[in-house]
Amino acid sequence: MTRLLRAEWTKLRTVRGWVAGLVASSLLIVGLGLLFATASNSSCSQGPIEVPCPWPTLGPNGVAVDDRFYFVSQELNGNGFITARVTSMSGQIRLPDETPGVRNVVSGVVPWAKAGVMVKESAEPGAAYAAVMVTGAHGVRMQHDFTEDVAGGPEGASAGAPRWLRLTRAADTIIGEESRDGRTWTRIGTARLEGLPAKVRIGLFAASPGDVRVTRNPLGGSAAASRFTEVTAVMDQVGVRGVAPGGTWRRDDIGADVNPDGNVHHPGTHIRHGGTFAVTGTGDIAPNTHEGTIERALTGTLVALIVVIVVAVLFVTAEYRRGLIRTTLLASPRRGRVLVAKAAVVGAATFVAGLAATAVTIPVARGILRGNGIFTLPVSTLTEVRVIAGVAALLAVAAVLALALGALFRRSSMAVIVAILALVVPYVLATASILPDEASRWLLRLTPAAGFAIQQSIPEYAQVISHYAPASGYYPLPPWGGFAVLCAYAALALGLAVQRLNRRDA
């Protein structure tokens, strides 16, 4: 096998056009990525003055987050707990104005409007927290540090059926519980907030994310729009243990924008009657899903893919065209191994070319974008490596698939067309906002283009409503799942090609 691999590698590297093709695919990724980065710019203004754009908040684990809510809190020094009974949630949604100048506001609570009790490291946006809450349509939840979400009881709160919530802090461990009557408590979950200081904020909060509506456009695709909402939760029976006696409640519009006149944009409120609080807030406490991802710099992948397909197809069909395949089979009569060696060589060469490109493009593009005032959602090193190596692997496996198609059809034009129909066309259709979302998702589940899922760096969060469609970079299959679909197609095609080569006279 080593001899075969060496022979096939010698074949690949000694045809200048093929080497040039692979190098070109690499340069296309780098070039288009950097072009995209340098051509992008962002500016923000405060009134008439241009100011640097606010940089998104980062959460305790480095994830970019939205941390915007209304917080009524006291200082907790050491251990303690907070209890509250949520008796109602109501809210309003601002729809597009029907009459210019007249606000079109309807009442309603969005599914992920949330209110309840919270322990937070500080009032700084992005500070660590844990909270137990009642939501608009997803029952009781315990959430912490933006990305973590555990479901409690499925019902919301109302005057007839209020929900008791309790959050207990013991060092850096926070326990969340719920109850129907304030006597029998059910544990929802436990959060560990590493390095939580002794002094933290403890209190009541309310937040209501934008009302995201997806509309179909006339072409068949869809577009999403988000509208301002706010929620008001009524909470009574509020009890806090562990705070200084007679401590005062502090009110914070966490993470709010400030208008040019110095006032908070869409401030929250709280009205207190004895032990009853009506807390009104807007915003969300959740991972940020609306900024740009690292993989957007890899726009050149699609063009590179076409070049790779052509090279991989020619790597085998050129032998059929010239009759060279017979020489190859004379030198290596075990035919299956010949194809496997060819696939391994073209795959490995493509992987190296792709990896060089993605490993350069992603960090350099991010740096250029940052210089142009554009934020890129940070991801863990592991995820970044997965995207960088994954896109290279996507190209490599696509090359194997194309090679197998070349060996099956023995004709360059046919094989290139089929490979493009299998990989490029479904991807373009699914991501170009021309098909209904569900049709796009099925394309990216069933066709080899599912492999593009490997480049998705930001996951879908169940607790964040967003337009999770292929057009916005969200794939229906998980990264490795989608990649596995592509691998399965490549393996199937290679298997058929080996079978055909073995059965037929050369």
């Binding site: 010239r322 004379l330 030198a331």
Partner: protein, 305 residues
């Protein structure tokens, strides 16, 4: 005798046409064996079956006692030239041989050796696409020689060569055979093999028509005919007829004698004091012998139908 190529009972049909119809022969080392027959006689198919490219419907073909497809470094067992045009045009000749060498675990040094051997050393780094047909044939032979194999199979190596190239290839093949290799050369023109082949496997319609040494074939085709020139034709005729020969009158002073070797004729005429100016044994050309053979084969098949 060392086993080289053994073909036994090969049958193969392509759709409705029978390509091989019980092809059986073996090739001996130390000589050039001509594999001759008209186009479509099954020469190329046989070679492809021997080389494991085509599968026979029946029968088997062995190289060095083993099926080709079981060989681990096949090019060190058999070197083959099937189609000299089978080249990637943008790859240089040297790189073409280099990947072949790598597939056999051989290095670049061996590549340079065979390039030298076939006289392509100076053109080695040129793209094969720019090669003339003659250069391609040389490159194909270089590829066949890479593994220094004891057996060589060349399919129509003379095709498209200029006279100089034909002379070169003949000499080259003879020298390869003189090194003790078995060399099987197919051709549809017997004349190309004149002075080259020591043995012939003549095929027609997918089977072997004759498997003979070249000398034996020519002798049998000559049929002991002797041309005699004499001024005393009638005396010579009666003397030879008495000795049992068949004598026919040729043009002018010539007689064609068969049934007696030339030496016996000279002795008889001397004893009878019949004057003669020339006694020449007729020697058939390879071409004539071949035409005789294939004519018979066609008649035989015609009768069998």
């Amino acid at each position: 005798m060392e086993a080289t190529i053994e073909v036994s009972g090969l049958r193969k049909r392509f759709g409705g046409t029978t390509a091989l119809d019980g092809m059986t022969f073996s090739v001996l080392p130390g000589q050039v064996t001509g594999f001759v027959g008209p186009n479509g006689a099954g020469k190329s198919t046989t070679m492809r079956v021997v080389l494991g490219l085509d599968a026979p419907d029946e029968g088997r073909a062995l190289v060095g006692g083993r099926p080709y497809r079981s060989l681990r470094r096949p090019l060190s067992h058999v070197g083959a030239l099937l189609d000299a045009a089978a080249l990637q045009p943008s790859r240089t000749a040297r790189n073409h041989l280099l990947w072949l060498a790598h597939s056999q675990g051989l290095g670049a040094r061996r590549v340079d050796e065979v390039l030298e051997q076939v006289g392509l050393a100076t053109a080695a780094r040129r793209r094969a696409g720019g090669y003339s047909l003659g250069m391609r044939q040389r490159l194909g032979i270089a590829a066949a020689l890479l593994g220094d194999p004891p057996v060589l199979m060349l399919d129509e190596p003379f095709n498209g060569l200029d006279p100089e190239g034909i002379v070169w290839i003949r000499g080259f093949l003879r020298s390869l055979a003189a090194e003790g290799r078995a060399v099987l050369v197919s051709s549809h023109l017997m004349s190309e093999l004149q002075d080259t082949a020591g043995h012939l496997v003549v095929v027609g319609r997918g089977r072997v028509v004759a498997d003979v040494g070249v000398d034996e074939l020519i002798t049998s085709a000559s049929r002991d005919r002797v041309t005699l020139r004499t001024g005393a034709r009638s005396a010579a005729m009666s003397a030879l007829a008495r000795a049992g020969a068949t004598v026919a009158a040729g043009e002018r002073d010539a007689l064609v004698v068969s049934g007696l070797p030339a030496g016996e004729i000279v002795r008889l005429l001397g004893a009878e004091s019949v004057p003669f100016s020339e006694v020449s044994a007729h020697r058939a050309t390879l071409e004539e012998a071949y035409l005789d053979l294939t004519r018979d084969a066609v008649e035989f098949r015609g009768a069998a139908r």
